[in-house]
Subunit: 335 residues, 2 copies
């Protein structure tokens, strides 16, 4: 997919609540310098704390792309949004959407994009073909975030590692595999929407050969233990040929998300399983840290869990939101 | 997908060689009673040993569906084929294609199908949506074939188990996950063409809840070790919630297919890896046999390999082509 041009104007529409604008919020948190403002229509209950702008004002501030990083109610895009989005295209901006509904199948938007020579991006839907993975060793280094379950902080952790590495002047790029990550990176592939035969091939495309000092930091998805999505996760592990892995976990989750009958695995057992599968493509792969989401437990419980995990794994253990990821990058660089 | 109606007329077109008609040959081997004959156009180098018929003669013999189980040269369907296929539709037959090229996108065929109220099946391309897998335990029993690599005899083994079980009056159904299998079963899903998020959900649809005495025999695909397709394999393992597994292996393969840098795993090691992943969805899953393709080695080597494998695994070990699979079904029924 072509690169999504920044700066961005974040379109929140009539989002029902703050959670509906989760994707846009991720963009604002990780790329504030790319965000010229937000567009909120009547009834919008989300607020990212950015300047409220009209489409025209966003264009005046230099926005190149309008980002639809919001859930649409009822799974369709209302006419009230389309009117605004056509204005954006007429003012020379592209549109990038993270909705399931494809904007590339809405005639009014397709027409306006053609008329103005602008681009429409449906980031949840890969628009290119991928090759079958060839599994060949490739130059450059890769780190992959993995987890005990879905939604345990893999994207956050990966972006935190990128930020820390770049602050140290290291050569590192975040590689996005989900919609929020794609807006933040400006490119990537929604790996869960790829045809099954091409999962690992897609990852080989996303994180290709590079210079020996370069690190691709690949956003993980799912979990080998979450049986709804485990095929995606194994394709990511086998396609990335990771040199380094970071284990992500949310403390206190009662069961795997969406699977009430399935317990969350213990971190050491999950690490062993993941390493076994990852070694099939890179004998030298190793874990360099554990990243915890501690938001469900008290400070004391978090501290005790961290100490226990550090003792079990011998790795740096952090809550990236509270502690940062410097100890993980230290371990990574120690080789 | 709707059921493909039999009897079949096998269309070989101008197949370049016998291998190009591999799919049609599988149908003829496993469902000879469904095959009224073969259609060969000028230049056809394949021969299934069936009666050579014209399209009209096939219709006279009662064929309900023309099967395109042949590779098309250059990836497109020549006009000489389309003329014949239109005739078939005009004579009241459906068409089912195993080609990558979609017959549902060829206007002449779509028109003729509509005109005659007939159906076109592109069995490599799932036409329905699947749900995300829910992982819930379900009634009925399931057997899944797995392997050290791709193309080691999983479909053959699964069909041989179905044949043996049905000969014993047992309640068993082959569940197809690839194009040849779909023609043989009359239904199924090309699992490698499903969107990545729905691999295991597709298998839950394919092998749903059933009566306690019923066995679904699920055709495996790929291998956890073949990194090009491993995501598909894990989705199959997690979606099938297998009670029984049969390990398939080809003796003498120099490396994993398509991956010259990757050795073929040893059978016991591969079984351990597969069991570990399969236990996540069914604690009681176990292997009930090993199925070997011995065609690359001498009879002595095959015998020695079988003895070694039986000693390593404690399981019945057969070449299904030469020995049948009765010992595996014995073990399965012994529970």
């Amino acid at each position: 997919m072509a690169t999504i041009q920044n700066p961005y104007l974040l379109f929140l529409g009539d989002a029902a609540d703050q959670l509906a604008a989760k994707t846009a919020n991720g963009v604002k948190v990780w790329r504030p310098e790319w965000c010229v403002g937000q567009v909120r229509l009547p009834g919008c209950k989300a607020d990212l704390g950015l300047d409220d702008l009209t489409i025209a004002q966003g264009a005046e501030r230099g926005a190149k792309t309008v980002i639809l990083g919001v859930a649409n109610r009822g799974g369709f895009i209302p006419d009230s949004w389309i009117v605004e989005l056509v204005k954006a295209l007429d003012l020379g901006m592209d549109i990038a959407s993270g909705l399931h509904t494809k904007i590339t199948q809405i005639p009014a938007l397709v027409d306006a994009a053609e008329r103005n020579g602008r681009q429409l991006f449906d980031v949840r839907h890969p628009t290119r073909d991928f090759a079958i993975a060839n599994g060949k060793p490739r130059a450059g280094k890769r780190l992959l975030t993995v987890g005990t379950d879905v939604s345990v902080g893999k994207m956050f952790t990966t972006l935190a590692v990128e930020k820390e590495m770049r602050a140290r002047g290291l050569n590192a790029d975040f590689r996005a595999t989900g919609q929020t990550g794609i807006f933040i990176a400006g490119s990537g592939a929604s790996i869960d929407a790829v045809i099954a035969d091409f999962i690992s091939g897609c990852v080989e495309w996303l994180a290709p050969e590079n210079t020996p000092d370069h690190w691709d930091l690949i956003e993980g998805q799912g979990s080998l233990y979450n049986v709804s999505y485990s095929g995606v996760t194994l394709g990511l592990i086998h396609g990335s040929q990771a040199d380094a892995l970071v284990m992500c976990h949310e403390i206190g989750r009662p069961h795997l998300r969406g699977l009430p009958d399935y317990p969350v695995p213990e971190i050491p057992a999950a690490m062993e399983t993941i390493l076994h599968m990852a070694r099939m493509v890179n004998r030298d792969v190793k874990f360099v840290g554990v990243s915890l989401n501690t938001s469900n437990v008290s400070a004391d419980e978090a501290t005790a869990f961290k100490a226990k995990t550090a003792a079990q794994t011998g790795l740096p253990v952090v809550d990236p939101l509270k502690d940062g990821v410097a100890p993980i990058v230290d371990r990574l660089m120690a080789g």
